[in-house]
Symmetry: C2
Subunit: 256 residues, 2 copies
């Protein structure tokens, strides 16, 4: 079992690398993530139709890429289980992390812009995604206003998110780390996992790259929070002991 495998998410092991054209047996209607994902707000009848749009499930092993920079954009992906990072590779090979995606998130929306993906999506643990081919999606959006509305909602969320997440760029280092932990905790919680005790799926270097910090600075921030009794960290296991204190530290610097 790979390092760091004790998973927040159930059912990520024993995956066949690709499940080709499996007709999405437990379709959207039976998916526990439907309240977070595209089908939110659909009627039962619409749910069945939406399920038919999901051409296949795909398993992505830890370390494999879901798509690479400049791949043709054919589909968006909904994460079912697992965890992804999205990144851009520099000419010198350095990695610029642009985001982390978990169950219920859509990945690959940047490809809407010009028929090509922007950056890579890499699985940080064995994962499973629903493949939603773009042309059928477009057609279905036309027929189902509720689906169209929800799709727009998710797109708007990405845009609004990036607009508020630009802000961390101007925060002090440990404030950024605190904001990162709180964001992660909240997203895990909204997906039914514990929001106070979880396993980091990414390295310190990846967190740093995402936040625009070095791995040492991230490590120091963790240590500082632990010294203050706000969190408990041991390698990748994190326990939030004083969420309000973290929130307050962030609020003090953040707008709204």
């Amino acid at each position: 079992m790979p390092r760091g495998a004790p998973s927040n998410n159930a059912g990520t092991m024993h995956l066949i690398p690709i499940l080709p054209a499996e007709p999405a047996s437990p379709a959207c209607a039976a998916c526990s993530l439907r309240a977070l994902c595209l089908p939110l707000g659909l009627s039962d009848q619409e749910l069945a139709l939406a399920g038919s749009m999901v051409a296949q499930r795909q398993a992505v092993a830890r370390g494999d890429t879901l798509f690479r920079h400049h791949d043709p954009f054919r589909a968006v992906f909904a994460v079912r289980t697992g965890f992804f990072k999205t990144r851009t590779l520099g000419r010198a090979g350095q990695e610029w992390i642009t985001g982390f995606r978990m169950a219920g998130d859509l990945v690959g929306l940047e490809g809407l812009a010009d028929e090509h993906h922007v950056g890579d999506a890499v699985a940080l643990e064995d994962s499973q995604v629903c493949v939603i081919p773009y042309p059928p999606l477009m057609a279905l959006l036309r027929d189902m206003p509720a689906l169209q509305r929800q799709f727009h909602r998710l797109l708007g969320r990405e845009i609004a998110r990036d607009q508020t997440l630009r802000l961390p760029g101007r925060l002090r280092a440990d404030t950024r780390v605190a904001a990162f932990l709180l964001d992660l905790a909240e997203r895990l919680q909204s997906r039914g996992f514990s929001g106070s005790s979880f396993v980091l799926r990414m390295t310190r270097a990846e967190i740093g790259s995402y936040l625009g910090l070095t791995l040492e600075t991230v490590s120091r921030a963790f240590s500082a929070f632990q010294a203050r009794g706000w969190i408990e960290v041991k390698q990748r296991d994190v326990r939030l002991l004083d969420t309000p204190a973290l929130q307050q530290a962030v609020q003090a610097e953040m707008p709204c």
Copy 2:
């Protein structure tokens, strides 16, 4: 004539504050921006329909807001003439600039997320926008696949843009400023203005806020570029003398 008025954009003066329900006389079909804006790729017939969707034009005077944080989301706006900044206000009243918008850009897309706008949009010069109410837009997207495609394209561009523009957060100060100038120049050029000689519509403080720098650092970067003969700056007038040098300075640090 207001300060800094010699404008890149024609036709920004003598504006009536609001042009209520003016039926968009020179509709999309006659608009010089249609190749940049929503109607890109529509047939003549579709263009006429699209024009009918634009309920009204609205004039926004320099300093006025187009929408404010948490205003109900009713419409997206297409900038016809002028220049906007989008921002978030902090509790202490400090301003966090999230972007600058010019002719042909859509503003207010973040509102798609949850029926409310996120942040304010403020005109940096006398401007004019097309008001595109959301319900009619949704309906038209349903009937016109080309419009739907283009709408998605613009949304995807926002998402991809934020993903690459997160990067400046990790660049050195003058590299960020160089990237900012180049981005501005390119956008102006693609809209038919000069890409090598233009007037900054925003203050050093606003640039700094956008880039996560102080106004002093922005000013120093400008001075340094000028000393190297790369640009010529005098107050808000900028002339790019050695674009390749600027590009190279950015490339050296940037990925892709």
